[in-house]
Amino acid sequence: MERRTIFDGWLLPAMLVLPQLVLTFFFFLWPAARAIWSSLERQDAFGINSEFVGFENFVDLFEDPLYLEAVVRTLIFVFFVTVIAMAVALVLAIFADREIRGRDIYRTLLIWPYAVAPAIAGVLWVLLMDPNVGLVGVGLNNMGINWDYRLNGFQAMLLVILASAWKQVSYNFIFFLAALQSIPKSVTEAARIDGASELHRFRTITLPLIAPTTFFLIVVNVVYAAFDTFATIAATTQGGPGRSTETLVFKVFRDGIVNVNIGSSSAQSVVLMVGVILITALQFRFMEKKS
C-alpha cells in the first residue's frame, strides 16, 4: 500500500529509519544469524573450540525423547491456554455487548487484567493455590482433594494453564468486543425480521462476521502461550515437578543459559524461529485472502 502524496528527497528518510535499522541489526538480525550459525556447530566441553557439524544438532534434537516430550507438552499447553482464554473471553464479550445497565463499568472491570504481567499472574495464582498458604489450595486439601502442584505434575500443568489463560482473557475480550460492536445493528435486526432465533443468528451471522478477529486471536494466543508464558511458568512451577511443565521456550532458556549447551540450545532456537515464521506467514496469507 502506498500513499499518493509523498515528500521528495532520500537523505531525510534515510536518517529517520536509521536508528531503528541499527537497533534491529544489532539486537535482532545479528543474534538470529548467530543462532542459526551456532546451531550448525558443536563446542567442546570447555567451550573454547567449536567445529562445524552440519545438521547434527538437529538430528540429536529430534532423536531426543525429552525434546519430543517437550514438543507434545507445549502443544497441549498451547491448545488449552488458547481455547480457554478465547472461549471465556468470547462469552464475556457477547454479554458485555448487550444493552444492559452498567455496561461501561463491566467493561472496565474486564479489561484491566490486560495490564497484569505474566509473571505477576503466576505470582497471584501461587499465592492463591499454594497447598500450605493459598486460600484455594488449603481449601482443596481441607475438602480431601490432595492438592500439591509441586509434587503432582498434572496439577502443575493445570495451574500453569489456568494462570496463563487467566491473564490472556482480557486481551481477547477487548478484541472480541470490538469485533461484535463493529457488526452493524441493522444486520442483526434484518436477521431477526427474517425469523432467525438468537442461537441461529449467532451461528449464521455473528460467528462468520467475527471470523477474521477469531483467526487473528488464535495466532496471537498461540504465540502468547508458546512464548510469553515463560514468566508465568518461572513464577509458578519453574518447569517442574520434574519436567512436567517444561515448555519449549523454558527448555531453551534452561539448556542455553543455565546449562550452557550452546549447540543444542541454538538448534532449539532455530526450530522455534521456524515455528514463529510459519505462524506469521499463515496469518498474512489469511489476511491477504480476506482483503
Partner: protein
C-alpha cells in the same frame, strides 16, 4: 395481503416520549408514507411495527391479530433498511434465501422464489456476488429482493433511498412504486423526503414531535394542509406564512402593512381582529404592480422557472416562483391570488376553513 391497524400506540424511552399515541388503519394493499423531520418518531413507529422495539402501550394488529408482543419472526413482515443491512458474508442468493431457509422451505421453492425476485429486480446476473462487490443501487435492489421473496403480509421501508445519488433515487422510487402496485402488499414507507412522500403514497401521514398531524392523500395534504407545520413542510420552496388579522366581518385578512386580501371561498369565523396566519405558496404570487412591495435578496434560476427571495417592508422573507425571465429588478410588487390563500389560526396554527 393484509390489513394493518395501530391503536393508540405509544413508546417512551425512560422519560422521553417518542411516540405519543398513534392511530392508523391501512387497507389491504395500501401504501402509506410516513413523513416528518428527523426526531418526529417515524422511525420508532416503523421499528415498533417490525417488532424491533416493544411498545410502551397500544396495539398493533396485522389482519386483526394483535402482534405487539410477538417476536419479529412471528409477525410475517419484511423490512428494507436505510443502509440495506445485507449480510456481508453471504452471496446475493444467500442473502435472499436466508429467511426462506429459516422457514424451512424446500430447496426448489427457495431457488424458484429467489430466481423470480432476481429477475423482477434485474439481479439475475449478480446472484453469486457478495454485497461488497455491488454498487449502491444494486445493494438496494438486493435489500428489496430479500423482502419480496418472503412474500410477507406487510412491507416496511425505512428511508430506503436516502443513501442513493439523486438520479438513482428517482429511478428506484418509480420502481418501488411499480413493484408495490403489482404485488399489492400493504406497505409502510418512512421518509423525510417530501418528493418521495408525495409520489409514493396512496396516503400520507405527516408526523411532528411524536404525534400524527395530518393523514390524507398527498394532494389533499398539499392543497389543504392541516396546520402551519404541514404547510411549511410539504412543498418546495416552502409556503410563505405571514401574520394577519381577520377583518371586514370575517370576509378578509388584513396583513400587517395594511394590505387586504378578500377570501375567495367565503367568510372565516370569529371577531374582527382575530389573529391569523395566512399562507401562500411561492407559485401563487404574481408579479403585478400595486401589490405587496418586496426588496429582492436573492435570485435562484432553476431553468424553467426562477425563485426570487425578497423581504417585505416589515423584514419578513417571501419567496416567489415566477417563469424565468430576463433581468430581475431590485424591487418587485407581487399580488396574492386569493383563491390559493391558506388561512390558519394565529395561535394554534390549525387550518381555519370558510363557514
Amino acid at each position: 395481503m393484509a390489513t394493518l391497524q395501530l391503536e393508540n400506540l405509544k413508546k417512551s424511552f425512560g422519560t422521553t416520549h417518542v411516540l405519543k399515541g398513534v392511530d392508523l388503519s391501512l387497507a389491504s394493499g395500501e401504501m402509506l408514507v410516513i413523513v416528518g423531520a428527523s426526531g418526529c418518531g417515524k422511525s420508532t413507529l416503523l421499528r415498533l411495527v417490525a417488532g424491533l422495539e416493544t411498545p410502551t402501550s397500544g396495539q398493533i394488529m396485522v389482519d386483526g391479530r394483535d402482534v405487539a408482543q410477538l417476536d419479529p419472526a412471528q409477525r410475517d413482515i419484511a423490512m428494507v433498511f436505510q443502509n440495506y443491512a445485507l449480510y456481508p458474508h453471504m452471496t446475493v442468493f444467500d442473502n435472499m434465501a436466508y429467511g426462506l431457509r429459516i422457514r424451512g422451505l424446500s430447496r426448489e421453492d427457495i431457488g424458484k422464489r429467489v430466481q423470480d425476485a432476481a429477475n423482477t429486480l434485474g439481479l439475475g446476473a449478480l446472484l453469486k456476488r457478495t454485497p461488497r462487490q455491488l454498487s449502491g443501487g444494486q445493494r438496494q435492489r438486493v435489500a428489496m429482493g430479500r423482502a419480496i421473496v418472503r412474500e410477507p403480509k406487510v412491507f416496511l421501508f425505512d428511508e430506503p433511498l436516502s443513501n442513493l445519488d439523486a438520479a438513482l433515487r428517482v429511478q428506484m422510487r418509480a420502481e418501488i412504486r411499480r413493484l408495490q402496485r403489482r404485488m399489492r402488499v400493504t406497505s409502510l414507507y418512512v421518509t423525510h423526503d417530501q418528493v418521495e412522500a408525495m409520489t409514493l403514497g396512496d396516503r400520507l401521514l405527516v408526523m411532528h414531535l411524536g404525534k400524527p398531524v395530518q393523514l390524507a392523500t398527498p394532494m389533499e395534504v398539499f392543497e389543504k394542509p392541516a396546520n402551519t407545520y404541514v404547510a411549511g413542510f410539504i412543498g418546495a420552496p416552502s409556503m410563505n406564512l405571514m401574520p394577519a388579522k381577520l377583518g371586514h366581518g370575517g370576509a378578509s385578512a388584513v396583513l400587517e402593512d395594511g394590505h387586504v386580501i378578500t377570501f375567495a371561498d367565503g367568510r372565516r369565523p370569529g371577531q374582527d381582529g382575530r389573529k391569523l396566519t395566512v399562507g401562500i405558496r411561492p407559485e401563487h404570487l404574481r408579479p403585478e404592480p400595486g401589490g405587496i412591495e418586496i426588496f429582492i435578496d436573492l435570485v435562484e434560476p432553476l431553468g424553467s422557472e426562477t425563485v426570487v427571495i425578497g423581504r417585505m417592508k416589515n423584514g419578513e422573507l417571501v419567496s416567489v416562483k415566477i417563469p424565468s425571465a430576463g433581468s430581475i429588478p431590485e424591487t418587485m410588487s407581487v399580488v396574492i391570488a386569493p383563491e390559493h390563500l391558506h388561512v390558519f389560526d394565529g395561535e394554534t396554527g390549525l387550518r381555519v376553513e370558510a363557514v
